[in-house]
Structures are given as structure tokens and as C-alpha cells.
């Protein structure tokens, strides 16, 4: 075995490196899967890249409710637009828009739980 390592030092090193990388990915994968199954259906924090319809999907709220909260007409505007773009076009601060949206969602959920 040692003779082999001496004969092929580069190949042996590459083998150990590839194996170590595989183990690292295995650990990370296990952690991600654990987080995935543990989190259940916790709502995702609303982020700049999300579209209004994506927020509707991930928070399990009808898209119309989100469109209402963002002041969008029900004519298909608001498709393929990120919240960041939307905040820009409405001259609003993105964080403020997200906070307001979260409040509207909470209100909608409270109304519909009764």
C-alpha cells in the first residue's frame, strides 16, 4: 500500500482529496435534509427576489390577497416582478414593503381563521 502511495503520490493525493470532498458534501447534505424535514411547513422569510405570486405560494395565501396588499391590479401585472423591482417602481423602501406585506398576510390569516 505504501509502495503504491510512493509510486503514485499525485494520484493518491487526488484520491484522498476527492474522498474528503465527498464526505464533506455528505455531511452538508445530511444537515440540509435534517433541516428540511425538521422545519415542517414553516413559512419562509420574505426576500427581495420573490415575486408576489411566490410569496402567495410559500405563505399559502391566495395570490389575489397578496396583489391587493401590494396595490397591484388583477390584470396580470405583478407576474415576473420581484419585490425589489416592485419597491423600486413604487418608490418605496424594500424593507418597509416587506414589513407591510407581512402585516397584511398576518391580518388575512387572522380573518380567515375565524
Amino acid at each position: 500500500m505504501l509502495a503504491l502511495v510512493k509510486r503514485h503520490p499525485v494520484l493518491s493525493l487526488a484520491f484522498v482529496a476527492a474522498l474528503a470532498t465527498a464526505v464533506m458534501f455528505l455531511v452538508r447534505l445530511a444537515v440540509s435534509l435534517w433541516v428540511w424535514s425538521d422545519a415542517g411547513h414553516v413559512n419562509q422569510p420574505i426576500e427581495a427576489w420573490m415575486t408576489p405570486r411566490y410569496v402567495a405560494r410559500s405563505w399559502d395565501v391566495p395570490p389575489e390577497a397578496i396583489a391587493d396588499a401590494l396595490g397591484l391590479a388583477a390584470d396580470g401585472t405583478g407576474r415576473r416582478v420581484t419585490l425589489a423591482d416592485l419597491a423600486d417602481s413604487q418608490n418605496r423602501d424594500l424593507q418597509a414593503l416587506i414589513r407591510d406585506l407581512e402585516a397584511s398576510i398576518a391580518l388575512f390569516k387572522a380573518d380567515n381563521d375565524d
Binding site: 476527492a18 452538508r28 447534505l29 440540509s32 428540511w36 427581495a48 405570486r53 411566490y54 420581484t82
Partner: protein
């Protein structure tokens, strides 16, 4: 990085999907799997249309593979020809080409979807080793279809949890690729080990 890509997909849609799918076949380091998952997710939300996402990704990926194959054939075979002037090297190259010709179809197929980070390198090698164009294209078309189906549908089904899904798929891709590389190097070492052993015994 991935969130930036998600933003590009939602703002610009199909062109972003086409460009990333094409460039990833040419070894440009973009996490294309994240873009495919994202395309599926935005199809689920109604921002994009599912069949358009699939067709765009598929067409661009097949075109990108063709480009990689052509580059390998045009540039690579000249380098191989120059290397083959040396006698012992020519024998080695002939053997390598033989291996590619007997395993080429399958390695093209599996490097499309199972070990996709290796895909661009297989494109170049297949071109340089003069794997038949039709054979390359048929295995490629079949493999890319599986790739597009798996990734876009994963995004479509688990749309609500896109960032976590992208993490998991990224780590899976890393695991399978590094394990495949370790496996190939391990096989080479075992073969050399046996040869060394036989030499000692005799």
C-alpha cells in the same frame, strides 16, 4: 449567489434560463441546477409557463452540448494528433480512445443528469476523441431530457421551499460528482496496485 439568480429568473424569465443552460454546457461555472429549480418553482406560482421553461432549458442545453462537442473536435483532435507522434504515447492515446468509444455513449448519458458537473468535460473529450456525432447527439438528447424533467419538476413540486431545495440539490450534485471522481481514481490505483503486486511476485 443563488438568490441573485432567482431574482434574474423572476425578472427576465426564459432568456435567463436559456443562457445559463447553454453556458453550463461549456464549463462556465454557474449553478444551473438552481436556475432549473427556480424555473420550475416560478412555473408553479404562475409567473412562468411550465412547458416553455422545459422546452427552453432543453433546447439550450442540447445546443450548448453540441457547441462543446464541436470545440473538442476542432481544437482537441489537433492536440491529440500532435501528442500521438510519439510511439508509446500513441499507444496510450489509442487505448484511451478505445475506452471512450466503448463507454462513450453511457458516459455522455450519465454526465447529463446524474453527474452533471462533469458534463462539459465529457463534451470536450467526446469531441476530441472523435466519438461519432450521431451517437453523441442521441445519448445527449436522452440524458438532457432526464436532466430537465428531474430538475424542473423538483422545483415545480417543492416551489414553496425553493432556497432550501436548491441547497439540498447542490450538495447532492457535489456529493455524487466527487464520489464519481474518487471512484475513477480509486479504480486506477487498484489497477496499478495489482500490476505492482504481480511484478513483485514474479
Amino acid at each position: 449567489m443563488t438568490e441573485l439568480l432567482f431574482g434574474f429568473v423572476s425578472s427576465y424569465g426564459l432568456p435567463v434560463i436559456a443562457i445559463t443552460a447553454f453556458l453550463s454546457c461549456l464549463a462556465v461555472p454557474i449553478p444551473t441546477f438552481a436556475v432549473m429549480l427556480c424555473g420550475g418553482a416560478f412555473a408553479a406560482t404562475g409567473d412562468l409557463v411550465l412547458w416553455q421553461v422545459m422546452l427552453t432549458a432543453y433546447g439550450a442545453a442540447v445546443l450548448g452540448d453540441q457547441a462543446g462537442f464541436l470545440i473538442g473536435r476542432k481544437g482537441g483532435s489537433r492536440i491529440v494528433a500532435r501528442l500521438a507522434r510519439n510511439g508509446t504515447r500513441a499507444a496510450l492515446i489509442a487505448r484511451a480512445q478505445e475506452t471512450i468509444h466503448s463507454w462513450g455513449g453511457l458516459s455522455v448519458f450519465f454526465s447529463r443528469w446524474l453527474v452533471s458537473p462533469l458534463g462539459p468535460w465529457v463534451n470536450l473529450t467526446a469531441g476530441a476523441a472523435r466519438l461519432g456525432w450521431l451517437r453523441f447527439t442521441l445519448w445527449d438528447a436522452a440524458g438532457e431530457a432526464i436532466w430537465v424533467l428531474i430538475y424542473v419538476m423538483l422545483g415545480f413540486v417543492f416551489a414553496a421551499r425553493l432556497p432550501e431545495l436548491a441547497d439540498i440539490v447542490g450538495e447532492w450534485a457535489g456529493l455524487i460528482s466527487s464520489a464519481a471522481i474518487a471512484g475513477v481514481i480509486g479504480l486506477l490505483l487498484i489497477r496499478n496496485f495489482r500490476r505492482l503486486h504481480i511484478k513483485r511476485l514474479s
